[in-house]
Symmetry: C2
Subunit: 99 residues, 2 copies
Amino acid sequence: MEISEALEALTSLSQEIRLRVFRLLVTASPHGLPAGAIAEELAVPANTLSFHLNHLRHAGLVSVRRQGRMQIYTARCDQVEFLKDFLTENCCTKSSCAS
Amino acid sequence: MEISEALEALTSLSQEIRLRVFRLLVTASPHGLPAGAIAEELAVPANTLSFHLNHLRHAGLVSVRRQGRMQIYTARCDQVEFLKDFLTENCCTKSSCAS
DNA sequence: TCCATATTTCTAGAATACTCGAAATATTGA
DNA sequence: TCAATATTTCGAGTATTCTAGAAATATGGA
């Protein structure tokens, strides 16, 4: 993972609503959840949520598919793995790292 | 690691200058580097750097000790481990995770 | 004590991010 | 085609973060 991608992922996950959205989607993995269900669960207005879902999508952390009228969002857990790898390779010394 | 602590660490590392500072300090681990050397290496004004070092310090990602006139900053690599653990526990499904 | 060096704090302006009402778009079913 | 539902886009206001000049603080050496 490039530093610019890592920055995008870190920026996306560093916002409370987005982190909560992502965690929720991880628990709902691999089926995903429609935007409306996320908005209701987290008590966030639909348009505000849409803004954050877009942010996560641009950062590559979620993917989306349409199912009828609904947009189903799914966590891209592999991207978190890449982020963790980035942190391991760039932000850890050998001695301090388990992996 | 609590969600609020994780947010602080993610926020700190999601800013380009701070991420570069942290990576530099990891390479200089465990000795650390004086603020002036970091500023010079990254070509950032001393007071701007100070702002970001403060941010990293409040997030627990670096520690500092005085050595004569210099302030020596050191990466707290263990905190990155905690952040990775947080991501593993909260943001990964079992199937998607190596660990 | 006085000066030079290293760094931080103060401050205000600039840039970026977040929020949410209102309007627009997409889909389904009648 | 029309109404209802699900979601997104637009736009403007608010809040937060970043930047860097200037001044302040801390230390060591002459």
